[in-house]
């Protein structure tokens, strides 16, 4: 990809220049900033109804290792090509499908998460300061949403600064709070003796963990494209998910095992850690949610040629309005919103599979493009097919099975089915097309001067 003028802002559709690349620590802080959120603690609490403390940790660690491997593979594509997830998808899926896939992966899904986290921010504020009108969930959702838009509007630099400021403190405060909460709820002995109410096979927990963060693993290139050395970003993703995500999820799970119904935020408030809850709630939620909005804006830039800041503003306002409407109870159902997010999420692992299969198998082994730097090329004048039909077939079949199979056989993980089936189908179809000389790309799209 030749370097072209950054028309959309923050290199949304162009290659990151060498001077703008960042260090390993920067990437680690950004990823941990995404993880530094109360929703991750609450997700861990959900596992406590299935597992004892040891099994909970084992299932989370195994799930995190799977996530780490997937994200290492996707992140490496980003750090080698220095392009965002949605631009990377152009070659494997075709230009039009890359637009649609980007909107599904981040354009809408990340905006839904932005709305959810903004609403949750309001809930936490009201929980900590129930008597202050400005902190009522309806009001806090609005100013919280606006606050979280600011760093996403500025771009990657602001995301980094915010993450550097909050992440080290967040990951010291939460374990300290957990240790205190465990102590007042019976101690480590009681924790080890605690039994879950409805024991479950460990595979369910692994799938749950993978499902919690598969979108993050898929869109890792949005951040790793800034990676100075090819392995910095992917390694940062791997470390943050394998080392730190288990700590965060265990924090929620352990407390839930000891004191069912009590979440860590509430426990911290009851311990008197009001300022710590406020800090971890406000800035932690912020450092996660601005990334949601940032990725959403990158995906929209790839689909509709509008500057990135406008997309941040549009998606941020929509997300904030949705959060406020949920808070006001004006007919917007949170469950319906999360169901939509979950349904869209079903289609993401198949897209991840296509991305990985194309870069690591199809390009070098089927198309003979061995050098890593040559596998994907971009720049004005580059031609793409509009639709790569093997990718479409693989996504549809994999996505459908990922949605349908768990409804019939609940023990079978949809995420794994979607990823595995799409990966295999895509490879088979591409192998057949290449060997038999069948055209796999339909139509033609020529990249413009602006990178669109």
């Amino acid at each position: 990809m030749t370097e072209v003028k950054d028309y959309f802002g923050d290199y949304a559709l162009t290659k990151i220049p060498e001077a703008e690349t960042r260090t390993f620590l920067n990437q680690l802080m950004i990823f941990m900033g995404v993880l530094a959120v109360w929703a991750a603690v609450f997700a861990g609490a959900a596992l406590a109804s299935w597992y004892d403390a040891v099994t909970l940790v084992v299932s989370v660690v195994l799930g995190c290792i799977i996530l780490g491997i997937i994200a290492y593979l996707t992140g490496y594509i980003g750090s080698r090509t220095r392009a965002s997830t949605y631009v990377i998808l152009r070659h494997s899926m075709g230009r039009v499908i890359a637009m649609i896939a980007g909107i599904i992966i981040s354009g809408i899904s990340a905006m839904i998460w932005f709305a959810y986290e903004t609403w949750l921010f309001g809930v936490i504020m009201q929980g900590v300061f129930p008597d202050i009108p400005f902190m009522r969930v309806e009001i806090a959702s609005i100013w919280g949403g606006i606050l979280m838009m600011t760093t996403a509007l500025i771009g990657y630099r602001a995301l980094s600064v915010l993450s550097y400021f909050i992440v080290p403190a967040w990951f010291v405060i939460i374990p300290m709070a957990l240790a205190a909460a465990i102590d007042i709820n019976g101690g480590w002995g009681a924790l080890m003796a605690a039994k879950p109410p409805t024991p479950m096979d460990i595979g369910v927990g692994i799938t749950f963990t993978v499902g919690c963060y598969i979108v993050g693993a898929t869109i890792a290139p949005d951040v790793t494209r800034f990676s100075r050395r090819p392995h910095d970003g992917p390694l940062a993703w791997f470390i943050h998910v394998v080392v730190f995500m288990p700590i965060i999820m265990a924090a929620g799970g352990f407390l839930q095992l000891l004191a069912p119904g009590v979440n860590l935020a509430a426990a911290m408030v009851s311990l008197g850690m009001v300022w710590a809850v406020l800090l971890t709630g406000v800035v932690g939620q912020w450092s996660t949610n601005d990334n949601n909005l940032y990725s959403s804006s990158l995906a929209w830039c790839n689909a509709i040629p509008l500057k990135r800041v406008y997309w941040v503003a549009i998606m941020g306002i929509i997300g904030t309005v949705i959060a406020a409407l949920i808070a006001f109870g004006f007919g917007v159902s949170l469950e319906a919103l999360l169901m939509l997010g979950s349904f869209l999420g079903t289609w993401i692992p198949p897209m991840t599979a296509i991305m990985i299969a194309d870069f690591y198998v199809v390009r070098p082994l089927l198309l003979g493009v061995k050098p890593v730097d040559k596998r994907y090329e971009w720049g004005p004048g580059t031609t793409y097919s509009l639709v790569n039909w093997p990718a479409v077939v693989a996504i549809i079949v994999g996505g459908f099975l990922a949605w349908w199979v768990p409804q019939v056989y609940p023990a079978i993980p949809g995420v794994i089915i979607g990823f595995g089936v799409s990966f295999v189908i895509f490879l088979i179809l591409m192998a057949v097309c290449v060997k038999m000389g069948i055209k796999y790309g339909i139509g033609k799209w020529v990249e413009t001067e602006k990178g669109f």
Binding site: S160, P168, A169, V172, A180, M273, A276, L279
Partner: protein, 133 residues
């Protein structure tokens, strides 16, 4: 160039030394506190001390202005952020801190944050590196 490196390195070393002294004070105060606070705050202080010492080592070994700036900014961010822990956690009744120790901890936390932000801006000016390195 060499004088710029020396100026930046000397400034960083001075500020880092202040942070080290403050961290050691936190460690001492933690050891003087209730058993509930002792372990957790001692671990916190040790993390802080390790980060500061590692930062000093990395900066003193840096060969050019950009590398020095990046390493200094990273170290400064880490201990500035960790200052938030000393600012927010000691007032928690669970830790049963003596009022005087609690006040000292909070003040140290505030100093770490203010000194850290000042040093970040100054290092940025001296070395020209981004704060988002």
């Amino acid at each position: 160039m060499s004088s710029e490196i020396n100026t930046a390195r000397a400034f960083f070393t001075r500020v880092n030394l202040i942070a080290l002294v403050l961290s050691i004070i936190i460690l001492i105060l933690s050891l003087l506190s209730s058993p509930k606070a002792q372990t957790l705050f001692s671990i916190y202080a040790i993390i802080l001390i390790v980060i500061i010492l590692l930062g000093h080592l990395r900066v003193s070994r840096s060969s050019d202005l950009k590398q020095l700036g990046e390493r200094a900014v990273q170290t400064l961010w880490l201990w500035t952020s960790l200052g938030l822990v000393a600012l927010t956690m000691p007032p928690t009744p669970y830790f049963e801190f003596d009022q005087l120790i609690m006040a000292a901890m909070v003040i140290i936390g505030a100093i770490l944050i203010i000194a850290g932000v000042y040093a970040l801006l100054k290092i940025r000016k001296l070395t020209g590196v981004y704060l988002s390195v």
